[in-house]
């Protein structure tokens, strides 16, 4: 599949994607328009909005090493920047980025000569399941983004950034002895939010 073949706006694994982004699509169209007019702030926002998607695909689905993933990450956003003027549907930019990221990752694997299923070619089918896992993980992340800020913060610090109770306590100004129970409550809230989002689909 080429970069120009747009997947559904929120999908990286296919049209069955459950990632809910009710308002960000319209925002993407506006951001793309502002980027075209040279708005550096809009460009930065666009990067920040889609960084987890690109990073998740490169590292989580395609298992690129960190230094390769860093270069591939820059290549994805370079392609996006170069093609800003020709993006036909700003609202579909997320799907476009996902597709470009997938293609860039495959290029990296081919260039690095890593062997997949056969000795001579990268088997793209080998990444379908990992891509679905990233898609589902992004659905969870979207649910996290809908939680109250303190719950987002404690879950992200503990699970995503591997911070200790002491570090979290110092950063958030809460007693370390209460952190385990706060994490437990936040996880329950995340599960509820995720389930509610799934039911609404």
């Amino acid at each position: 599949m080429t970069d120009d073949q747009i997947l559904s706006p929120s999908s990286i694994a296919g049209p069955q994607s459950r990632v809910r982004r009710p308002s960000s699509s319209a925002d993407d169209a506006e951001l793309v328009a502002r980027c075209r007019s040279g708005d550096d702030g809009a460009w930065r926002t666009l990067i920040e909005r889609h960084a987890s998607l690109v990073h998740g695909i490169l590292r989580g689905a395609f298992r690129l090493e960190a230094h390769d993933a860093e270069d591939a990450f820059q290549e994805v956003f370079t392609r996006l920047y170069v093609r800003l003027g020709s993006v036909r549907d700003g609202e579909a930019v997320r799907g476009w980025i996902a597709q470009v990221t997938r293609n860039v990752a495959l290029d990296w694997l081919r260039r690095s000569g890593r062997e997949m299923v056969s000795d001579t070619a990268v088997d793209e089918r080998a990444f379908e399941e990992p891509l679905r896992a990233v898609d589902e993980a992004l659905t969870v992340r979207a649910a996290l983004d809908r939680l109250p800020r303190p719950q987002q913060e404690i879950l992200d610090r503990f699970f995503a950034r591997d911070e200790s109770y002491q570090t979290i306590g110092a950063a958030l100004g809460i007693p370390p002895g209460t952190i385990a129970s706060r994490i437990s409550r936040a996880l329950a809230a995340l599960r509820d939010e995720f389930e509610q989002g799934a039911v609404e689909q």
Partner: protein, 84 residues
């Protein structure tokens, strides 16, 4: 956990998987417009058959010859444009 949709273990794995890149990656990406410079210059060289031939032989030499900075974003942009 009794969650029929996603276990706590999977929730945690999902959070780790979507932790996002290091801040330095974001900073570098934010600099792409200034690193690439004038996009028109890239478009001009892409239209040149001599440049395309030189780029196929030796990308860095082609960039230097065309007066473009031999930076990774410029290389990526040219690869992208020449492939499309």
């Amino acid at each position: 956990m009794s969650d029929p949709l996603l276990s706590e273990t999977k929730l945690v794995a999902a959070l780790k998987l979507t932790a996002g890149p290091p801040p330095a990656w974001l900073e570098a990406a934010a600099m792409i417009p200034s690193t690439l410079g004038d996009l028109d210059a890239i478009e001009r060289v892409v239209d040149s058959a001599a440049f395309r031939e030189r780029f196929a032989r030796d990308p860095l030499d082609a960039l230097t010859h065309a007066g473009l900075p031999p930076s990774p974003p410029v290389l990526a942009a040219l690869r992208d444009r020449l492939a499309s």
